[in-house]
């Protein structure tokens, strides 16, 4: 099984991924996460803006998926901390995200994620976070 197949297999079993309605498209080495617009993701009706919590959840899951894809862990990593910058209002449109692993350690890793809508150069939100990789061989030490 490829890492991508393992990731897709895992994502369908994670309830919050299904609740959010997100998916991860992997082409070669690149993964793009997609959050198709849905009315339930709205945070402010009068502004028709996506909820900051929905955007944050999407970014955090994107980071976890990227780490899963690029490592040999069997579970999604655990979040140590995240900082989300809200740069522009998330419109009632699809949201895309890409994650960059700044450092992949044996136990911990640092990830940066950016999300955009119509224009890639106009980021809607960015996230920086630290994650704990669950490696069974380290747990037993």
């Amino acid at each position: 099984m490829t890492r991508n197949e393992m990731l897709q297999d895992l994502l369908v079993r994670v309830p919050i991924v299904q609740t959010l309605g997100m998916r991860c498209d992997v082409k070669g080495d690149d993964m793009t996460a997609i959050l198709p617009f849905n009315n339930k993701l709205i945070g402010n009706f009068s502004l028709k803006a996506l909820h900051g919590g929905a955007i944050g959840t999407f970014l955090e899951l994107t980071a976890m998926a990227q780490l899963f894809l690029e490592s040999d862990v069997e579970k999604l990593p655990r979040t140590i901390n995240i900082t989300v910058d809200y740069l522009r209002r998330g419109r009632a449109e699809n949201l895309f995200a890409r994650a960059y692993i700044v450092k992949m350690g044996r136990r911990m890793s640092s990830v940066r994620v950016e999300a955009w809508q119509a224009e890639r150069s106009k980021a809607v939100a960015a996230m920086q976070g630290h994650f704990l990789l669950s490696r069974p061989e380290l747990e037993s030490q």
């Binding site: 009068s46 900051g52 140590i80 989300v84």
Partner: protein, 161 residues
């Protein structure tokens, strides 16, 4: 809703308390995650996130995903900042940092608490906590900055602009 009473801080808090049960019902993503506001003071808000199957982030240990805590603390923090202002304003999250002390326990409600601790003319600063039962059982802490939006004409409130 009496729009004029929004401009008086005390009346606004009273109005928020009266509408506590509806405050999250008008926010679709908050309705989806299912949290509720449980107490309101000026600059200080409490809420409760019930455990639910559809919010699980790990199918094995069945723990609620961190993003749900992001949603809870982001929303409560925004409300805490808005309730601390002397005039009615919309606030928008600039940034939010969340540190996870320990994973939430499965099948347990999560309490959220947010406190606006400093205001400038354009920015409100907030800290927040997520825990089981009491702050002794911390799950996560958060710290955020919120932009205080310039006044919009009151008639545009809720106009779907």
């Amino acid at each position: 809703m009496d729009i004029n009473s929004l401009q008086d801080p005390d009346k606004r808090i009273a109005l928020m308390r009266q509408n506590m049960g509806n405050m999250t019902k008008i926010v679709p993503w908050a309705r989806e995650t299912g949290f509720e506001v449980t107490a309101i003071e000026k600059g200080h808000i409490w809420g409760r996130q019930p455990f639910s199957e559809h919010l699980i982030g790990d199918p094995e240990d069945r723990v609620i995903h961190g993003g749900v805590i992001t949603t809870l603390l982001d929303n409560l923090s925004g409300m805490a900042c808005a309730s601390a202002l002397s005039e009615f304003r919309f606030v928008a999250t600039l940034d939010l940092r969340i540190d996870y002390m320990r994973p939430a326990e499965t099948e347990c409600d999560i309490i959220g608490e947010a406190e606006c601790y400093h205001l400038t003319r354009s920015v409100a600063f907030c800290r927040a906590w997520a825990y089981h039962e009491t702050r002794e059982k911390l799950i996560a802490t958060a710290q955020g900055a919120f932009a205080i939006n310039q006044p919009r004409s009151i008639s545009s409130f809720g106009a779907g602009a």
